[in-house]
Symmetry: C2
DNA sequence: ACCGGTCTGTACGCTTTCAGACAATATTTT
DNA sequence: AAAATATTGTCTGAAAGCGTACAGACCGGT
């Protein structure tokens, strides 16, 4: 029973009609998603799709020098492994890594594509989700170019909270820096500024959002734009940011 | 006859089996794509999908202050209007605008989605293309954060040439600046530097690539990564960069 | 209680890019 | 031919963020 409730906390699985859900059910495997776990790497075959139940997964673009920059975040509103439904088994430039520890349900690649090809509800849900995800990435592309670190950090923390549910997050500056594509020292300065404005509190490996509304005001427009697109996605069912 | 050959210069249309192509044929409408023409705007309904035959279309993220940054470029290897197949009629944050004048074939939204829903070749081709397009956007997101203007300009010019075929392009610095999300003056400096290195020549509203190999060396890795993904796309049929 | 590793705050000079402005040149219009 | 417009090259001061470094704070293990 508890497992059943868990399954339904992924919004895509939750939106499936009973018949489709039951077809998938036997193939779903519960997995823990510990911090830092890599779900797939560039050029490596993607063997499973992951439907997060709790926590968040980052999709990051990996550069030749080893540096990386986040392209998008996936939580309970989405699925990790979109290339599978697009007919690809690998990504050339991206890695999926657990950003906030949690859990999820995974599905073998073949099971996913088989159900997808039926062209029923899962097909349409995944494509709708993909649209929102593309919105997220393209907004991030502009954001990375135009907005200042403090704004981007605020945006990023808000997106995290939406996917996490809680206002407390276990995150190091080092990790955040890698996601935002900046120096760790830069995150330290920006986080301290947000704290001085009373919007967050942060300690070693830990950040808490104190004033969510204020943090939204301190973030760039990108947060709101992407949030709106995700709300459209499940607007008749449930909302996530 | 000439029209027929033209149709086939779009690589997606070209890859369709005869039967599917003929189903679409009557719905295809030839259109000129003059410089600056807007194919869709944020929040406005997308009424047609465009299959470019010549020229190139930019998809740019539009920011609240009116600024814009390119997310991706679409040429004869692709199609403009992907949201339609994802079940959306609008984009919240993007505009599609003709970057290099040319021509294309357009299809009413309903005709595209109808054929897409058949789940035959066009369905799979569009999804494969989408994968490459996402690779392009996410690489750009990292590129915008990590790479210097001169490298990014080189990358951008190369991607332009691939889609254009010719080594001469009619482009103003003002336009390029808007695509790259930088000041016009910055483009002037970077273009002059590339010219001093003997890689390009540029005059008022005009840029020519002189040393393509040198320009590739001067560009960031992002050009090669994205090019490779697009090559995978049509690898059994034709190649584009 | 101590130690080693991890995490954070802060500092320095430096690079890239910005913002804004201006003059020079090329093209189009009158 | 002259005027208006579009496009480009360059300048100055300033901001944001970089690379690097280092010391202090925190944490877990023995």
């Amino acid at each position: 029973m508890d497992a059943y409730i868990n399954h339904k906390s992924n919004l895509i699985l939750n939106a499936l009609p009973t018949q489709e859900y039951e077809r998938l059910y036997t193939h779903l495997e519960y997995v823990e998603l510990p911090l830092g776990k890599i779900l797939y790497d560039p050029e490596e075959p993607i063997r499973h799709a992951y439907f997060p139940l709790r926590g968040a997964v980052s999709v990051v673009t990996v550069l030749r020098d080893g540096g990386s920059v986040e392209a998008g975040v996936i939580g309970k509103e989405g699925v990790v492994g979109i290339p599978l439904v697009l007919g690809r088994e690998t990504e050339l430039n991206r890695r999926a890594v657990v950003q906030i520890q949690g859990s999820g349900l995974r599905l073998k690649a073949t099971a996913l594509t088989e159900e997808f090809r039926r062209g029923e509800r899962l097909h349409d849900l995944l494509l709708s989700y993909l649209h929102a995800f593309i919105t997220q990435i393209s907004q991030t592309a502009a954001c990375n170019r135009m907005h200042r670190l403090e704004e981007r950090l605020a945006r990023w923390l808000l997106a995290c909270q939406d996917r996490l549910g809680s206002d407390e997050m276990q995150l190091t500056q080092e990790f955040i820096a890698e996601m935002l594509g900046v120096r760790r020292a830069g995150v330290s300065v920006a986080a301290t500024q947000l704290q001085e404005r009373g919007l967050i509190k942060h300690k070693r490996g830990f950040i808490q959002i104190i004033d969510r509304e204020g943090l939204e005001a301190a973030s760039c427009e990108c947060y709101g734009v992407v949030r709106r697109e995700y709300q459209r996605l499940f607007e008749n069912r449930a909302a996530t940011g």
